[in-house]
């Protein structure tokens, strides 16, 4: 018997997905606005360094231009719309560099936390028994420490181990790892509870009877079914990770001044707050707040969309 089959109608599916996106955007204008803000900041942070002189290199500084206030104030200059800092760096450009570092550190640390917590949660939920008990008690112990304190401990320990000589890349790696490790518990717990539900479903039994091994069952069947809630948490945690990195940098133990993050910029400006040069720290603060608030609102919205229990409410 032969059956004539029409080619799969992929374009139609893609179009409907596009239409879905548009409908979702119209339904949630706030979240859409946040998504647009995030996207704009992304583009600004990653394109500016390609077209401008790095103000944190020697050639980018000009001490003659230092402490120029924003352009609408007296003494303001149109060349520096948001003013300059103590080294004569254009704050508008400097913040692009700061945001870039913050975003990179935020994303990488979320990914580290997701990988670490996700795999531990998968193993705990799937294997169960003693392995599960061990991993979850470890998580309980870690929860007894504030995440920021833990990140500081890990950061300090790594620095002590590596000595004073270290490159910017090493410093960023240490910060990324310490923030990632500080936040794995949430992912592990969420994934574990989802896995415990999914592993007893009949479709998993069917795959097992067919002859799939544990690894293929986890990767092919269970993982796609437990990812949605975790991705929502990851979005919200992105904001928290960026704040944590800013806090570490503000305290002077995060990213070095030569490759600043928003937190480093705030710390730098903090020195001049008392002397009236408020703009040096206020602009990075506002950018940080805007970015993190946008990320959080978007994450909240995603959580509502993916939580079936909240469906129907708006």
């Amino acid at each position: 018997m032969t059956t004539v089959v029409n080619a799969p109608s992929a374009p139609a599916a893609r179009r409907s997905r596009f239409a879905n996106l548009r409908r979702a955007m119209l339904k949630a204008p706030g979240a859409t606005l946040c998504a647009v803000i995030i996207l704009a900041m992304f583009l600004y942070a990653f394109i500016t360094p390609l077209v401008s002189q790095n103000p944190f290199e020697f050639a980018g500084m000009s001490v003659l231009d230092s402490f120029i206030p924003p352009m609408w104030m007296t003494d303001g200059v149109p060349d520096f719309p948001l003013g300059t800092d103590d080294q004569g760096r254009n704050l508008l450009t400097a913040m692009a560099y700061g945001m870039r570092t913050s975003i990179i550190v935020g994303f990488l640390s979320v990914i580290i936390g997701l990988l670490l917590g996700g795999s531990l949660g998968l193993v705990a939920g799937f294997v169960g028994g003693r392995v599960d008990a061990f991993i979850m008690r470890l998580a309980d112990v870690q929860l007894a420490y504030p995440a920021l304190l833990l990140a500081m401990i890990i950061d300090g320990a790594a620095r002590a181990a590596l000595g004073a000589e270290r490159s910017v890349a090493t410093a960023i790696t240490i910060v990324v790892l310490s923030i990632g490790i500080a936040f794995w518990v949430q992912y592990a717990r969420t994934i574990r509870s989802s896995v415990m539900i999914e592993r007893d479903q009949d479709y998993v039994s069917a795959a097992r009877i067919t002859g799939r091994g544990n690894l293929s069952i986890i990767v092919l069947h269970i993982l796609p079914n437990v990812m949605a809630p975790v991705l929502v948490i990851a979005t919200i945690n992105l904001g928290i990770a960026i704040i944590t990195e800013a806090t570490l940098s503000f305290l002077g133990i995060g990213i070095p001044v030569t490759s600043p993050s928003l937190g480093t910029l705030i710390r730098n400006g903090n020195n001049f707050l008392q002397s009236g040069e408020w703009w040096i720290s206020v602009w990075p603060c506002l950018v940080l707040v805007l970015f993190v608030v946008s990320v959080n609102i978007l994450g909240d919205h995603l959580r509502d969309v993916y939580n079936p229990r909240l469906k129907g409410r708006s």
Partner: protein, 335 residues
């Protein structure tokens, strides 16, 4: 194992252990646990469908999971006939709940293709896709459905997809665990027709588990009746209905509501199913049996064989072939 035997269960038991507390573990007392399947011996011959019936909680689904290899029996042995190369036969299982048995993140094509890929039954994308389309048509769906996701189908259609997936593995042995219980009566009939056609055309050997006597009568060549984890009677299908040997079988047949308009009365089996963690002494059915005598309370009944290739566990040689038996009298209930 004789030549025609495909699957034999040899005194198979499964005990679900209760989670013991820390102190209990220290004391090393044996908590016992629930004997979900108790000392079941059963043979399935090549090309035959064996039905298993019983109330909920009698252990029939546990038996299905044991046979499928999802769980290991606590004691006893389950053995399949191996082929010339010494390989165990390919199994597939169809589940009761058509909603949880399909992965919602996979397309129908991926779902049905999985057994084909795992067992390498077809090579190449085009060949696999052609086979998927063929299977979809075979179970009464259309090849266009392959692009869709399980959520887009009704319960009956989902069960068809499950059947297609099971057939995709070209199983030598099929386990059906209440495949129609979650479906509407009209859809049930369609699925049963489909299964019967497949049985006829593909010469499947299968184990059909259900609580519905009329379903098992249509589908099975031989029927086993389970009560509290024990196989209390086993006989060829028509023989079981014509001449049941065990009082429980008789009561089960009478309890099923039928379409006969001359008899509108229902005959529920008196009493509750006892807690399988603490089964009654002697014959497990004595608390609800209308014929129970003293011997039933104290002595485990022997397993007897009939001339019609059946077996049953009862102390008496009762003639239960015609007429409903009266529900147990009051003194039995209070016993």
């Amino acid at each position: 194992m004789s030549a025609g035997d495909f699957l034999t269960l040899d005194h198979v038991s499964k005990v679900y252990r209760r989670n013991q507390g820390f102190l209990e573990r220290l004391k090393k007392t044996d908590a016992g646990g629930t004997r979900a399947v108790s000392d079941v011996s059963l043979t399935v011959r090549h090309g035959e469908t064996v039905g298993l019936v019983g109330e909920s909680g009698c252990g029939k689904s546990t038996l299905a999971r044991l046979v499928s290899g999802l769980m290991a029996p606590t004691s006893g042995e389950i053995s399949f006939r191996k082929d010339a190369a010494g390989k165990a036969p390919r199994l597939q299982m169809i589940f009761q709940d058509p909603y949880s048995s399909l992965n919602g993140r996979w397309t129908i094509e991926d779902i049905i293709a999985e057994p084909i890929k795992v067992h390498r039954l077809r090579q190449g994308k085009a060949a696999i896709r052609a086979r998927v389309d063929e299977l979809l048509v075979q179970v009464g769906l259309s090849p266009a459905d392959a692009e869709k996701y399980p959520q887009e189908f009704s319960g009956g259609q989902r069960q068809r997809i499950c059947i297609a997936r099971a057939l995709a593995g070209e199983p030598e042995f099929l386990i059906l665990d209440e495949p129609t219980s979650a479906l509407d009566v009209s859809v049930q009939a369609q699925i049963l027709n489909l299964l019967r056609d497949l049985q006829k055309n593909l010469h499947l050997t299968s184990l059909f588990i259900t609580h519905n006597l009329s379903v098992v009568r249509i589908m099975a060549d031989r029927i086993g009746v389970m009560y509290l984890g024990e196989l209390v009677e086993e006989a060829p299908s028509e023989e079981l209905f014509r001449r049941p040997r065990h009082p429980y079988t008789r009561l089960l047949i009478d309890a099923a509501p039928d379409m006969d308009t001359s008899d509108r009365s229902l005959h529920p089996i008196a009493g509750e199913l006892p807690n399988p963690a603490f089964p009654p002494s002697g014959c497990r059915f004595h608390t609800r049996c209308p014929f129970a005598k003293d011997i039933c309370r104290n002595t485990v009944p022997p397993q007897k064989t009939t001339e019609a290739d059946g077996l049953y566990r009862c102390h008496f040689d009762l003639d239960l072939s015609n007429a409903s038996i009266v529900p147990p009298s009051a003194n039995v209930k209070t016993a």
